[in-house]
Amino acid sequence: YRLFPGEPKWKKNTLTYRISKYTPSMSSADVDKAVEMALQAWSSAVPLSFVRVNSGEADIMISFETGDHGDSYPFDGPRGTLAHAFAPGEGLGGDTHFDNAEKWTMGMNGFNLFTVAAHEFGHALGLAHSTDPTALMYPTYKYQNPYGFHLPKDDVKGIQALYGPRKTFLGKPTVPHAPPHKPSIPDLCDSSSSFDAVTMLGKELLFFKDRIFWRRQVHLTAGIRPSTITSSFPQLMSNVDAAYEVAERGIAYFFKGPHYWITRGFQMQGPPRTIYDFGFPRHVQRIDAAVYLREPQKTLFFVGDEYYSYDERKRKMEKDYPKNTEEEFSGVNGQIDAAVELNGYIYFFSGPKAYKYDTEKEDVVSVLKSSSWVGC
């Protein structure tokens, strides 16, 4: 790896970024996503965090430009130069420009924006070009799949030479240098919030919240430990909406926005797919919770105050859905945040409450604190 002369670096750990101009060759949502993932690639290795702003001056101003765009490094049309970025510093420092004449894409039919953005943000953080052909900071373009991307060793060494390693967090990563200590966990114990998603995965029970997930054995409350989602599911990063496992098939599904991923254990099985594969109507943009019921081999998907039933054998959504959740599951109040079936009971997590629902009695048999499931 190489650093710039004088080794310029940011003197703060939280950097702002703003996408001030977009490109016609990609949707702005995809540009936002690619940029977020590209920054995430670096913040997974060093104690930096990135905050997006939508107006005014940001540390890293990002824009798609054409030809001569006023910084004395004009672009040259299709191919050739794809993008450039400036080393850390005031004003132009950190700014990142992409050549609008290129065909940008989230995939491979054009230049993959995640790949180029991740490289350019290396410059914006203080890395020059590397002579290691396997490094992200090698000067010439080489496609990288955004999902499952791991920063090559040479780049990790380079960026940590500037900012030191990222320490693993025990709790929510609110402040990059927050010492890994107990108090971050009681946040969950005290807060009124619930989990984003809960699922079995093999023999373990996983609870997802923001950027953290907890793993535990079903019958043991000891040895519960938090990990960052990126450490085991880099593609998911944070804020998983829903998850469920079809144990007999050994696969699990993870949902985020209109996408889902399939895993075998912790192994991602390919790129994300769209939730419309399940037969959801287009107005459904995300899932709040999902639970697989072993007996009927059906998966219930909760969206707002309604739910859908998906037949896993026939691989299709059942007719006469959606139905109203509270009408069907008496005693379960509020929107469902997460759900999981254990030993014939369905556990519904709604805010700080976990409802234990008996499908035979068709009623709630007990109500617990959500956070009691992770040892609070």
């Binding site: 710039f4 050739g80 993008a83």
Partner: protein, 85 residues
């Protein structure tokens, strides 16, 4: 110019200009205010930059714009120079 090329005469002129622009963009130290630089055609500064490029990309350092060197020059890339800037 022929001394720089191990390539065929046909693509001579285009490749030469392409290479010159590439070396000017990525292998020319431009600190502070940009300065005009008279570059003798094929002068030793061009050979020197070709050698720098070949060393950076791990190619055989010949100082000539041979095929492998031209292949690298034609690859899409980042606009940040490869030499200290």
């Amino acid at each position: 110019v022929p001394s720089l090329f191990a390539g065929t005469p046909r693509s001579l002129r285009n490749d030469y200009h392409l290479a010159q622009a590439y070396l000017d963009k990525y292998y020319t130290r431009k600190g502070g205010h940009p300065i005009g630089e008279m570059v003798a055609r094929g002068g030793n500064s061009m050979v020197k930059k070709i050698k720098e490029l070949q060393a950076f990309f791990g190619l055989q350092v010949t100082g000539k714009l041979d095929q492998t060197t031209m292949d690298v020059i034609k690859r899409p890339r980042c606009g940040v120079p490869d030499v200290a800037n």
